[in-house]
Symmetry: C2
Subunit: 192 residues, 2 copies
Amino acid sequence: MSTTPKSKGKQAALVRATISLVNNSGFHAAPMAKIAALAGVSAGTIYRYFESKQDLINRVYLEVKAAFSASAFRDYVETDSVEEDFKQIWHNIADFKLRQVEEALFLSQCDNTPMIDEASRQEGLRHLRPLLDLWERGQARGIIRPVSPYLLYAYTIYPIAFLLNMQERGHHDITPDQVEAAYQMAWNSITI
Amino acid sequence: MSTTPKSKGKQAALVRATISLVNNSGFHAAPMAKIAALAGVSAGTIYRYFESKQDLINRVYLEVKAAFSASAFRDYVETDSVEEDFKQIWHNIADFKLRQVEEALFLSQCDNTPMIDEASRQEGLRHLRPLLDLWERGQARGIIRPVSPYLLYAYTIYPIAFLLNMQERGHHDITPDQVEAAYQMAWNSITI
DNA sequence: CATTGTAAAATGAACGTTCATTCATTTTAT
DNA sequence: ATAAAATGAATGAACGTTCATTTTACAATG
């Protein structure tokens, strides 16, 4: 045990503060001083853990992306059915986006701006291999459309980010029914 | 005719410069001085046309969104077939995104960050009415899934932005074949 | 157990830079 | 000659980053 009530690592607090501030104000309006204040540390302390603001953003991105990928394949065991396997992964991803809203919004923002180094972006993509493998298996069996994985991703995973954005802006509430409908739409779009 | 070779209005030049700079560096790294330089005017001149940087961004957003909506319904005439009508609009939108790449990338960035006022966002959405009407018609006839228009948008229009982003980052080339496949995937996802 | 020595961690004022914005002046158009 | 348009140096605020100083953590010592 340590001294302060909720001391759990300043680095983690900084990561959380960064996500929250970038979500609510955007990268351009998330100054280091505010991030520090929200994390409950002083401005200078950030530089014990991160080299620069760019480094901070990149590392937060990688950390969140890693958590996302880990969620995607939680309890994933290949069965014989491509559809079963896809359903498993898709719902894992949907669960992540609906439960870790802050993290998911942060990723959606990063993926659509030049905020992140191309190198970090590549690195963040690496962990999605099992999903690509599954798609190839489905294509080999003639179940899934013989198109680029980018198209498959665009029509199955990417739409969830849109729904989340709309929900966050108060236009739309995502009910369990709609999650199920969304899954069916995803599956229908990529199958032959 | 005016004096300079390519003088066509400084306001238009400023809009173009803003789009280009925000695309390549993000809002946070698009200072007014650079925008002015790229537009070939002096920094102070911006303030003859726009009240502030926020106003500049909002108005560029609205202008691009208006051009987008106009494209979406170019030559659109309702037929008796929901599928025909949808195909028309979808391809109009895809054409816009593939031909006006800069404008489309700018919109994708705006739609995923807190860069734009919620008011301007609402305003930009207004012109999409005919598409929503078409969807309602399709739902009334039992052709289109009875789900929120947000879901329909997420699975038909939003994915195009992802493909464009990937193409722009050099991961992927969008061939005419893939556009056709993308259309089929969109249609399959929203029909019953 | 209390005291002390020491290195790591944290601080926040200060620094230099960059930014959005203004405005006295100049240029352009009529 | 006059008004509108454009300029770009000046301004003050805000930013990312640094660093001299203070605080904390804790092992060694008596």
